[in-house]
Structure formats: structure tokens, C-alpha cells
């Protein structure tokens, strides 16, 4: 492992990779700070810019944006009481209360240092668990892969809010969008509605940009209250001795919790912050302070959040299965670069695998520097009015979508997916499962076909092979766990009527 980490560091420490990691972290922080601009939208927006780069440089930059957004999200959560994204919701609970009490600086410091510590530990977890999981995954045949992808798809709905049937429908719709285009085996053109531009499939960038970026803009214009507020003063950054000693155990607990939950497909990120907050509130000696600015309530969830955002790379790097929408984008970026993520990546692309891991740690170090001393810069960014922001985002969307294939058709695809994305918001559908289904759909078909050829059309192969059976059982269990409580609740409601 040390050799591999050394290899990774040598890759990550080239000038070009350091520079793009830095650029990614800065952009990510800016995005995270700006309320109303989410990380998924940003990454899909910037995806076209990375096509000209080496795969490793592209991944390092995208990863920097991803965890930069986690850091930045806590800044606006603490100072503005507006979470830049879901994972920062918990931080508003205690963090903003601390800011009101004049301790915004301390909250920011503990968030940044906790995140850095958690990121360091989680990076080591990725480095250790990655090769281990890869060696297991190498033994997988098509049947195991099919079941694993199915499990991943089901898990992607577990933590989506609201109606489970609707989340499943989104997955299925995503898979369907993934099937549009030419069938590789037969050459049959499917579901292109007569557009020759769709022969190669629905555009990944237009789909992600439309569903997340464009729909988000319309939504923000419709509900202006999502994006304004008064910015608290930062105050002193130093922690008092008491604050420090109270934070240490919380950071440790948050790191452990986040590292574990981050691996889970389907939103371990948000789950880990909520779980950590609950845990801190239970075990704290200062329980009475919770709700009015307890530092443990910032330290724990912020560490958990960052640890989880690192370990969520594990299923993507080792199995090629995205744990969340951002990871789905990463897979899309790799595939556009001609690299199929999966267990073979670690052997075939060792510099990519280890370079990315090493850059995670470097990125975290950069973020510590970018965030704490420069917090004033980010605060001033909070004051940029949204009315100047959204036309800029729109221009970048337009040029970005066009430049993927140098085709105006991709811009029109973005428009269509923007409309679909807005309709989904209005009908209370979650767009993230659709994106994950879209990425995994073609793989699902491929492995299904291969498994069925090998078994000569016998479906029982998925149950006869033990590993595959375990995956399917887990998937069924997850489905049952989600559906049963909602049925019971409905029954109780019906009886109550």
C-alpha cells in the first residue's frame, strides 16, 4: 500500500495536477457557498471543460469540486442559515445558532478542521478498502454484476425522499433513457424518434445539465426566498480550550460514522450527517445546549459529511457503481474519456486510481487553507445577487452543452431535459435516481444479456450463484424495508379515518 500511495503522490504532485486540484477546490468552494447552485449542477456544467484534459487530471479536478462543495456548503449554512446543499442542512441547526451568538468563526474553524481530519482518515480507508474490494469483485461474473447493479439501483431509492414508487419509476425511466440509441449487438436503432443525432444515445451532459442545472434555475427564480438572507459576522476564528476539547470526540465519532455510511449506495452522505447529529445529541454532556448552538452538533456532522464524501468513491472506483448522483457524473466523465470504471481499473489504470486517492488528501489540505484564512472572500461571494448569477450559469450551460459534440442539437436536448426536470420538481419526483439509472442502464442490459447467454436462458442462474443470490436478497430486503412501513402507515391512517 505504501508503494501505491507513493505512486499516487508522485502523480498528484505534478504541477498540472496540483493546479487543477486547486482550481477544482476553489470552484467547488465557490459553488458550495453560493446558495441555489448545487454540486451536481456545477459538475455537469464543468464536465465539458475536462474533456480536453488527461483522465487523471479531469478526475482530480472534478473530485476537488465535489469535496470543495462540501466545505463551502457549511460556510453558507453557518453564516447565512441557508444550506448550499442537502448535506449542510444539519449544520444550520447548531452552526447558525453559534453564528448568532457571535461564534461563527469557531463554528467555521471546527467545521474545516473536523472535515480535514475526517478527509485524511477516509482517504486512508479508501486506499485500504479499494484493493480489497477489487480483488473480491474480480471473481464476479455477469450474473453477479447484474444482481449487484440491480441492488445498486434499488439502494439508490432508499434515501430518496417521498414516495418510493415514484423513486423506483425514476430509476426505470433513467434506465430507459440509457437504452436510447444503437443496440451494439444487433445494430438496431432504438427509440430515437427519428433524430439521427440520438443514434449514439441521449447525451449525458445535456441530461445532467438540464435535469439539475436548468430546472434549478427556473425553480430558484420561482421561489426567491431560497436564496437570500442576512450574513452573520464571522468574528474570531480561534477555538477556546473548552470548545476544542468538546469537539475532539465528536470529530472522531463523526469520522467513523461517515466513513462507514459513505460506502452505502444511494445517499449515505446526507444520512451520515443526520446520523452523526442524532448521535452527538444523545451522548453529549451538554445536551441542553443543543438547539441553541452546541459545537458538537457542528463538529460531528461536518466530519461525518466529509468522511462520507471520500468513502463514497469506493463503490465507484472498485465496482463501477455510483453511490450518488455526483459519482454517476464521475462515471460518465470517465466513460467519455474512454475508461470503463470497475474492478479492472486499479490494475489497468494504477496512476489514475492511486493518483486520485492521493489527490483527495492534498485537496483536503488545500481546502483547509482556502477556507479558513480566506473566509472573508467567500463571505463577499455570498453577497452576489442571484439575478446576476443565473444568466451566467445559463451561458456556461449553453456553451458547455454545445462543445461536447460541437452540436447545437445538444443545446436543444438540454432545453428538453430542463423542461422535464422542472416537471419532475412540480410532480415531486427526485431527479437523482433517474441519473443513476441512466448511467447504469446500458451496463444492466449488457450483463443481463451475457449472463443469459452463459446460462442458456435459464433465469435461475441469478439465484444459483450464491454471491448473486445474496445481492438480490439484499435488494429485496431493502425494498421490503421501504415499502412495509409506508403500507402500515397508510393502514393506520385508513383506520383512523
Amino acid at each position: 500500500m505504501l508503494d501505491n500511495l507513493a505512486l499516487g503522490l508522485s502523480v498528484a504532485f505534478t504541477f498540472q495536477n496540483l493546479a487543477f486540484s486547486f482550481v477544482g477546490c476553489v470552484i467547488g468552494t465557490a459553488i458550495g457557498v453560493l446558495p441555489g447552485v448545487g454540486p451536481v449542477a456545477t459538475i455537469s456544467l464543468l464536465l465539458p471543460l475536462t474533456f480536453g484534459l488527461d483522465p487523471i487530471t479531469a478526475m482530480i479536478m472534478l473530485a476537488g469540486i465535489y469535496y470543495g462543495a462540501q466545505y463551502g456548503g457549511s460556510t453558507s449554512a453557518i453564516l447565512l442559515n441557508l444550506p448550499g446543499e442537502v448535506t449542510a442542512v444539519v449544520t444550520t441547526l447548531e452552526g447558525h445558532k453559534m453564528a448568532r451568538a457571535g461564534r461563527a468563526g469557531a463554528a467555521l474553524t471546527v467545521a474545516a478542521i473536523g472535515s480535514f481530519f475526517a478527509g485524511t482518515v477516509a482517504t486512508l480507508v479508501v486506499a485500504g478498502a479499494g484493493p480489497l474490494l477489487t480483488s473480491v469483485a474480480m471473481a464476479f461474473g455477469p450474473a453477479e454484476y447484474f444482481s449487484l447493479i440491480l441492488l445498486g439501483l434499488i439502494a439508490a431509492t432508499v434515501l430518496a425522499h417521498g414516495n418510493i414508487l415514484k423513486s423506483l419509476a425514476m430509476i426505470v425511466l433513467g434506465v430507459l433513457f440509457g437504452l436510447v440509441g444503437t443496440d451494439l449487438q444487433s445494430g438496431q436503432i432504438r427509440f430515437t424518434l427519428g433524430f439521427p443525432q440520438l443514434f449514439e444515445g441521449v447525451g449525458f451532459v445535456p441530461l445532467a445539465m438540464g435535469l439539475f442545472g436548468i430546472a434549478e434555475i427556473i425553480r430558484n427564480l420561482e421561489c426567491p426566498e431560497n436564496r437570500s438572507g442576512t450574513v452573520s459576522r464571522v468574528g474570531k476564528l480561534w477555538l477556546t480550550k473548552d470548545e476544542f476539547s468538546r469537539s475532539v470526540p465528536s470529530v472522531l465519532r463523526g469520522t467513523a460514522l461517515g466513513s462507514l455510511l459513505g460506502v452505502l449506495p444511494g445517499g449515505g452522505l446526507a444520512l451520515s450527517t443526520f446520523a452523526s447529529y442524532m448521535l452527538e445529541r444523545k451522548v453529549s454532556k451538554h445536551r441542553e445546549e443543543f438547539g441553541s448552538g452546541a459545537i458538537e452538533g457542528v463538529a460531528g456532522p461536518e466530519s461525518a459529511n466529509n468522511a462520507a464524501s471520500q468513502t463514497s468513491f469506493i463503490p465507484m472506483l472498485t465496482l463501477g457503481i455510483p453511490a450518488n448522483a455526483v459519482m454517476a457524473l464521475m462515471i460518465g466523465a470517465l466513460m467519455i474519456q474512454g475508461i470503463q470504471p470497475g474492478p479492472r481499473m486499479i490494475d489497468e489504470q494504477p496512476t489514475l486510481f492511486w493518483g486520485l486517492i492521493a489527490s483527495m488528501w492534498i485537496g483536503n489540505l488545500m481546502l483547509l487553507v482556502i477556507n479558513l484564512p480566506l473566509v472573508g472572500v467567500w463571505v463577499s461571494l455570498l453577497k452576489v445577487p442571484y439575478k446576476y448569477l443565473y444568466p451566467a450559469i445559463l451561458v456556461f450551460c449553453g456553451i458547455g452543452a454545445y462543445s461536447v459534440n460541437n452540436s447545437a442539437f445538444d443545446v436543444y436536448q438540454t432545453v428538453v431535459f430542463g423542461l422535464i426536470g422542472y416537471a419532475l420538481i412540480k410532480l415531486e419526483f427526485e431527479p437523482a435516481p433517474l441519473l443513476i439509472g441512466f448511467v447504469l442502464g446500458p451496463m444492466l442490459e449488457e450483463y443481463l444479456k451475457r449472463a443469459m447467454v452463459l446460462s442458456r436462458g435459464d433465469v435461475s442462474v441469478f439465484i444459483d450463484r450464491p454471491v448473486s443470490a445474496v445481492f438480490l436478497a439484499l435488494g429485496a430486503l431493502a425494498l421490503a424495508a421501504m415499502i412495509l412501513p409506508s403500507i402500515r402507515r397508510r393502514k393506520e391512517e385508513a383506520i383512523a379515518e
Binding site: L49, N163, L165, K166, A169, V172, L173, V175, L176, L179, D183, S186, Q188, R190, F191, I214, I217, I218, L221, E222, Y386, K387, Y388, Y390, P391, A392, L394, V395, C397, G398, I399, Y402, S403, N406, A408, V411, Y412, T414, V415, G418, L419, Y422, K426, L427, E428, F429, L444, E445, L448, K449, M452, V453, S455, R456, G457, D458, V459, R490, E493, A494
Partner: protein
Amino acid sequence: MSKQVNAKDIASGVILLLLAAIGIYINLDYQLGTASRMGPGYMPLVVLVALGVLGMGVLLAGFYGSPERLEKWAWREVGLILAALSIFGVMLEDIGMAAATVALVVISGLADRTQTLKGIAALAVVLVAICWLVFTWGLQISVPFLPSFLTNP
């Protein structure tokens, strides 16, 4: 009094069922093949049936769920933002990035009523400058910046 239903779920269910039906109709043209040698229509059929079943489920749940109305659409914002981006796409290749950007900023600017004429003008100038710097000069993407009749007289 009519029974209170979840209109969002009912509309969602109907849309999903419609999509499944249209999809299955298109899929009739593709060969199904057999389970051991799947044709191009096999997987889509499985997926479309699943979509139909889920659509039915969402529809039924809508009749028993907590009552909810359909939300109003912000048609003005939807129309202006999507129109701005579409026109940008139309203008980009032939008339160039500069003019397309100005058109996009002006049209999308109408979507926020707090915009001022001065603000939009300044924003357009700044964005055109940034686009030139980032895309034309920096990344050197193959999009014309100015209209072709100006650069090739």
C-alpha cells in the same frame, strides 16, 4: 363533495402509464429474441412493463394518499429561460458566441423582475468578455466568436 385525492400522484401515474404505452408501441418494431439470445427489443420491453406497473402503482396510491393539488407552473420563467437557451443554440454556430450570449442574457434577464436595463447591459458586456477569455482565448473551442460575415468579408 368529491373525495380528496393526491392530484400530483394521479397525474404522475397517468404520465408514467402513457410513457410505458408509447414505449411498448415503438418497441413492437424491435426483435425480442429469446431469453438466451436477447434481441434489441427484449430489455426495453422488460423495462417498459416495469414502468407501466410502477405507473399503475403511483396512480392507485394517488387515490388513497394524502390529498394534494397540482402545483401551478411558473410559465413565464419556464418559457423565458428555455427560450433564451434555445435561441442561444440557434445563434451560436452562424452568428457567433458574442451575439448569442447577448441574446441569452437579455431574454433570460426578463425572467427576473428585479433586473434593471443597466444591470442587464453590464452583465452582457462582462459575460461576453469572460466567454472570449475562457472559451475562445483559453480553451480555444471551435465556436466562432463573431458572425462569419464580419470575420470573412
